[in-house]
């Protein structure tokens, strides 16, 4: 009993670390499965970073569309990233986090475009915003915003 109390910090860390790893991985896998499924579903909506519509475009209506998602890191990712930011190198645990957030944001933007009956989004811009900051006690996550102009054919 004494031993447990003395090493409470370490024990708590271990529990959080394992919980973070298991739950985080499960969450990530589930999220990726849902992203892939919806990406197939929305494949018909084309996304471009071009500033101007293709020359062949006939009369279109333009609507500003946007999508955003805030994805939280898990305890495991946080610890791994902490280690890497000490030694340097690629932080793969964060790469997947940002990838998920960006793809989710694009999907939500496409959802809005589909609701407008648009088949194309042009001039797409991304913006990343880190929530939380450096303080250890703060909530950590990343917001990804995607926005662009949806073009829908007039009179269709």
């Amino acid at each position: 009993m004494d031993l447990i109390l003395q090493n409470f910090d370490l024990l708590l860390f271990a529990v959080l670390f394992i919980t973070g790893y298991v739950a985080g991985r499960w969450n990530e896998r589930r999220h990726y499965a849902s992203i892939r499924k919806r990406e197939d579903e929305f494949a018909g909506i084309l996304v471009f970073t071009n500033r101007f519509p293709p020359p062949s475009t006939t009369r279109v209506a333009t609507v500003l569309v946007s999508g955003s998602a805030v994805i939280s890191e898990d305890f495991f990712k946080g610890v791994v990233a902490g280690l890497y930011s000490f030694f340097g190198g690629r932080i793969r645990s964060y790469e997947s986090l940002l990838d998920r957030a960006r793809r989710e944001a694009v999907l939500r933007m496409k959802e809005q475009a589909r609701a407008q009956g648009a088949g194309m989004i042009i001039n797409v811009k991304f913006q990343t915003f880190a929530i939380g900051g450096r303080r250890a006690s703060s909530v950590k996550g990343v917001e990804m915003l995607a926005y662009g102009t949806a073009l829908s054919p007039v009179g269709a």
Binding site: S68, D74, I131
Partner: protein
């Protein structure tokens, strides 16, 4: 009011350029949301409350920008951009800006 992040609207001519318009809002999250988000920080996943909060703030920023454009007599805002910055711990400013124009 037509909103777009394009510089030109296909098929329509800009007849009057009315200059820069902007709208911003500073929002803080409340403690309850933070507690739940703290739990989420262990297991990972989407922070839906934060997504909603930032989305609402962005809508408000756009609304303010539109109001400014209306008072300038514009019927469209073009080349819209968004910016987000953290002011202090737990508060963020969301800015929307663009060019107010009159389209024919």
């Amino acid at each position: 009011m037509l909103l777009s992040n394009l510089e030109l609207v296909p098929g329509r001519r800009v007849v009057k350029h009315l200059g820069l318009v902007q709208g911003s809002t500073v929002r803080a999250k409340h403690v309850g949301k933070d507690l739940f988000a703290g739990l989420k920080n262990i297991i990972g996943g989407e922070l839906k409350a934060y997504t909603e909060l930032l989305k609402e703030s962005r809508e408000e920023a756009v609304e303010r920008m539109v109001k400014q454009a209306e008072s300038a007599g514009a019927n469209a805002v073009l080349n819209i951009r968004f910016a987000t910055s953290s002011i202090t711990q737990g508060a963020a400013e969301i800015l929307a800006y663009g060019t107010a124009v009159t389209l024919e």
